[in-house]
C-alpha cells in the first residue's frame, strides 16, 4: 500500500510540473508582447522595456520557465496590474472563501446525492422514483450561471429570504448564522448538477443490489424495505458511490467559479473573473494555478483514501 501511495505522489508531482508549464506557456503563446501583457495596456514604454530586460525574453523558453518556476517555488507569482499587490497575497486572501463554498457544495452533493439515490433506487419504478429521476434530469441540465441568477431572483429579490451578495461573508464579525445564510444559495447552485450525477449513478447501484438474492432473503426474514436500503444494501453501494462522488470534485470547481461570479462570492473564482475583465494576466495565471493545484492535490487525497479503504489494494 505504501508503495502504491508513493507512486501516486510521484505521478502527482510530475502532473503538477506539467500544469505549471501549461500555465506558464499560456502567457508566452498568447499573441502580442509578453511584457506588455503582464504590465497591462496602461504601462509606459520604458516600464515595458525594463520588464522585457528583467524577464530576459530573448533567452530560450525553457530557461525562462526555469526562472519563473524558481520564483514560483519562493511563492512569487508576480504583481497584480489592477491591485498593485503581489498575486500570492491576493490568492491567500481569497482562497478561504472558495474552500468554504467548495466544502459546503461537496457536503450537499454527497448527502443529497445519496439520499435521492436511496429514495429512488430503493423504490425502483415507484412514483417517487419517477419524480426524483425527473428532478435529477433537470438538476443535471441546469447551467450553474443561470441557476444562480434564477435563485437570486426568486429567493433574494422576490421572497427576500437570502442575501443577494456574498460580500461580507468573510468579515471578522460574521456570525455562523450570517455565514450560513450567505452560503446556502451559492452552495446549492454549485452542487446542483454534481448532486444529480451522483444520485443517478448511485441509483443504478441500488437497483442492481435490490435484485440480489441476499436482499430477497432479508425480505423473507421480514426486514422492512427501509432497513434493507439503509443498512443491508448500503455497504455494497458505497464503493461506486465513493468513486462517483470523487469524480465530481472537478465539476464542482467549474460550477463554483460561476456561482462565485453570480453571487459576488469573495473567492478565487470571482477574482479570476475580475482578472479576465480587467486584463490582469498575472492574476488570471495565479488563480488558475491555485485552483489547479488544489484540484490535483484533492484528487491525490481522494485516491489515497480509496486505496486505504479498498482491501484489494491494501496489500
Amino acid at each position: 500500500m505504501i508503495r502504491l501511495i508513493i507512486n501516486r505522489i510521484f505521478a502527482t508531482i510530475l502532473v503538477l510540473i506539467g500544469v505549471s508549464f501549461v500555465v506558464f506557456a499560456a502567457l508566452h503563446f498568447s499573441p502580442g508582447d509578453v511584457a506588455r501583457t503582464i504590465l497591462g495596456l496602461g504601462a509606459t514604454e520604458e516600464r515595458v522595456q525594463a520588464l522585457r530586460q528583467e524577464l530576459g525574453l530573448d533567452r530560450p523558453l525553457l530557461i525562462q520557465y526555469w526562472d519563473w518556476m524558481m520564483a514560483l517555488l519562493r511563492g512569487d507569482l508576480g504583481r497584480s496590474i489592477s491591485l498593485g499587490v503581489p498575486v500570492s497575497e491576493v490568492i491567500f486572501d481569497k482562497i478561504w472563501a472558495s474552500l468554504l463554498l467548495m466544502g459546503a457544495s461537496f457536503f450537499l452533493t454527497v448527502s443529497f446525492g445519496l439520499l435521492f439515490a436511496a429514495l429512488s433506487g430503493g423504490y425502483h419504478r415507484s412514483l417517487m422514483d419517477r419524480l426524483i429521476t425527473l428532478l435529477m434530469l433537470l438538476l443535471a441540465s441546469l447551467p450553474p450561471f443561470w441557476l444562480g441568477i434564477v435563485l437570486l431572483i426568486i429567493f433574494g429579490l422576490k421572497l427576500r429570504i437570502f442575501p443577494i451578495s456574498g460580500v461580507g461573508v468573510m468579515a471578522d464579525d460574521a456570525t455562523l448564522y450570517v455565514v450560513a445564510m450567505h452560503l446556502i444559495l451559492p452552495a446549492v447552485t454549485t452542487a446542483a448538477s454534481s448532486l444529480a450525477v451522483v444520485a443517478r449513478v448511485t441509483r443504478s447501484a441500488f437497483i442492481d443490489e435490490i435484485g440480489e438474492p441476499y436482499v430477497q432473503s432479508a425480505r423473507a426474514r421480514g426486514l422492512s424495505q427501509r432497513r434493507i436500503i439503509s443498512i443491508e444494501t448500503m455497504r455494497n453501494v458505497l464503493p461506486s458511490f465513493v468513486t462517483i462522488a470523487g469524480l465530481q470534485i472537478g465539476f464542482l470547481f467549474s460550477s463554483a467559479l460561476f456561482s462565485e461570479i453570480v453571487f459576488n462570492w469573495p473567492g478565487i473564482g470571482l477574482q479570476l473573473y475580475l482578472g479576465i475583465v480587467q486584463r490582469d494576466f498575472p492574476v488570471v495565471q495565479g488563480c488558475v494555478l491555485a485552483i489547479a493545484i488544489v484540484f490535483v492535490v484533492g484528487n491525490l487525497l481522494a485516491d489515497i483514501l480509496s486505496i486505504a479503504l479498498d482491501p484489494r489494494r491494501r496489500g
Binding site: 503563446f29 498568447s30 434530469l137 441568477i149 434564477v150 449513478v201 447501484a205 453501494v237 472537478g250 470547481f253
Partner: protein, 297 residues
Amino acid sequence: MRLISILSNSKAYELLRTLQRDKSASTGLWLLIVFSIIVLFAPIIAPYGPNEAIPSLRLAPPGTPGHLLGLDHQGRDILSRIIHGTRLTVITAVTPVVIGALVALPLGLLAAWYERLGVLILRTMDVLFAFPMALLAILVTSSLGAGIINLLISLVIVLLPYYVRIVHQAAASQKALPYIEALRVSGTPVRTILFVELLPNVAPAAIVYGATVLGSIVVTAAGLSFLGLGVQPPLAEWGVMISEGRNVIFIAPHVAALPGAALTLFVIACNLLGDGIRDALDPRARATLSYQANLSK
C-alpha cells in the same frame, strides 16, 4: 468509406429503433430535431431581426403586444434573439465535439500502436486532466483572446484528454485481437491497419462519448460567452444574453431568465438523447457498476 458504411448499415438502424422504444431518448431526439429546424430557418421563424431595436419599449415584460417574451435593455425582441441565438449556441457546442473526435482518433490510435509515443501522449493528456473543464477553457481563451474561433479551439483542447483516453482504450483492446495479429504478420502497412481496419471499430466509442458529453459542452460554451470570453455582444447567443440580462435583473428579471430557460431545455434534450445512446450501445456502463459492487462484497 468503411466508416460511412458502418454508420449507415443496419447497426445504425438498430440504434434508431432502440432509441425509438426508449421514451426519454426519443423525447430528446424530437426536441433536438425541433432545435435543428430552428437553427436552419431562424431568420424565417423569428418575427424580428436579432438587433432590431425599439428603444421606446426597452425592458417591456413578456406579453407586450407583438413581443411574446418581452424586450431587453436595448429594446430588442427577446423571442427573436433567442431564436437567432440558437444558431451560435448550437454551433459553438457541436463543432468542438466533432473536431475533438477527429483530432483524438489519430492521436489515440497512434498512442495505442506505438507504446513509447503512447506514454508521451497519455502523460500530456494527464496534465490537461489536471484542470477542471471550465478552468482550462478559461485559461486558453484568456490567453488567445476572446472570440468565436478561440472559443472553439479552447473547447477542442478541453475535450481532447477525454476523447484520447477513450479511443486509446478501445484501440488497445482491439490491438490484442487475432485479426490485428493476422494483419500484422501478413505484412499489412501500419497505416492501413490503423486507419482502415482499426478506425471503424474504434470510432463508435468516440461517437458515443461525443453524444454523452454534448450537454456539458453546451453549458461550458455558453458559460465562456457568459464570462465575455466567447461570442461577443451584440451577437445573439444565449450565454451572452444571460450575461447582458444580469445587469438588469433588479428591474427586468425576464431578460436573463428566458434565454437561460431555452439553454436548459436544449441541455435537457442533449442529455436525454446522450443517455439513451449510451444505454443502447454500451450496456456495460451499468454492468461495470454492479461488477464493482460485486467485487467488493
